[in-house]
């Protein structure tokens, strides 16, 4: 091969490789990206059936129910306008508590219950994920002071 051919081969190999990597990464991205919805959007039916998504909001005070002796927990997530029941069957994070903001990953089941496979809370107890904060602020606007619940 002449030096020129050699260089062209090298460039071709690199371009093909990078293109392949890019395609694969974009596919992984499309398949695995998770959108965020608050209870209002869930109530509005914006979530596609079976879609895995992030649900954010506040854990309604007094809504946390355990099945004693098991991991099963049920609670309600609210943005002061709408409420979504959540079911979860794993260990909850340390900072999870009633009246605090939280984000959960999971899917809606046929009855409209959000079945979470992961519940997140941040290290800092004063922390509020910005999207949750925005949802709550918007919800508060509409719900005035009727919302019962704890503090956040």
């Amino acid at each position: 091969m002449t030096p020129r051919q050699r260089r062209m081969t090298l460039v071709a190999v690199i371009v093909a490789g990078v293109a392949l990597a890019g395609t694969l990464a974009l596919r992984a991205f499309r398949d695995n990206v998770m959108f965020y919805f608050d209870p209002t959007k869930v109530a509005a039916g914006e979530v596609q059936a079976g879609q895995r998504f992030r649900l954010g909001g506040m854990v309604e005070k007094g809504s946390l129910m355990r099945t004693p002796g098991t991991l099963e927990v049920n609670f309600i997530v609210t943005d002061f306008k709408h409420r979504v029941p959540v079911r979860y069957a794993n260990v909850l994070p340390d900072l999870f508590k009633e009246g605090a903001g939280m984000v959960a990953h999971g899917r809606l089941d046929a009855s409209g219950t959000f079945v979470a496979d992961e519940v997140l809370a941040k290290h800092d107890e004063n922390y509020m994920p910005p999207e949750v904060a925005r949802s709550l602020a918007a919800g508060k606007d509409a719900a005035d002071s009727k919302a019962a619940g704890g503090s956040y």
């Binding site: 925005r134 602020a137 606007d141 704890g150």
Partner: protein, 179 residues
């Protein structure tokens, strides 16, 4: 075209994204705004010092008041204490304290040590009232007008400058409208 310019162009695009991201970043003021211009949420809590009495918003009807949310556990509250005392001494507006998720004894000790800027203090022991007011974190201060509407809010430490620049003008503008 100079191929060595591409990194710079890529960086410029990134900066645009970052600027937009920065404008979307959670600004405490954005979170605070929904309440402004709306009627103040109900305020009805037991008095911190005399638990037989209650501190209510209706008792303040027809006049200006400043609701200040604080706690002894909050470092920044200590930082704004001097500013609150100055506002009290100025005598333009009574300050109603909302002692948030705090220990009563600690709160009373704090006031006897640092001075009491408040006309009355409600004890919001479980934080229920604070949620109605959309409190994001202590300290926060709400200025309520004689019609019972929230006109201004400070998230974070109150200072003399903020008081003068953002709060006082509201009262100056409405002077004489409703005593």
């Amino acid at each position: 075209m100079n191929r060595f310019l591409w990194p710079l162009i890529g960086f410029a695009l990134l900066v645009v994204v970052l600027i937009v991201g920065l404008r979307h970043a959670p600004d405490k003021e954005i979170i605070a705004s929904p309440l402004i211009g709306k009627p103040a949420p109900t305020l009805d809590v037991p008095d911190l010092i005399d638990s037989n009495r209650r501190v209510t918003g209706t008792a303040q009807a027809g006049r200006w008041y400043l609701l200040n949310v604080w706690g002894t556990w909050c470092v920044e509250c200590r930082a704004e204490h001097a500013a609150l005392l100055a506002i009290r001494d100025e005598g333009r507006v009574p300050i109603i304290g909302l002692n948030w998720k705090d220990d009563d004894a600690a709160a009373i000790a704090w006031l006897s040590q640092l001075g009491n800027p408040y006309q009355a203090i409600g004890a919001d022991r479980d934080g229920r009232v604070a949620i109605d007011w959309g409190v994001y974190g202590a300290p926060e201060s709400f200025l309520v007008n004689p019609q019972g509407v929230v006109v201004e809010k400070q998230t974070g430490v109150m200072t003399a400058e903020i008081w003068k620049q953002r709060f006082l003008p509201h009262m100056d503008a409405q002077r004489g409208v409703a005593p």
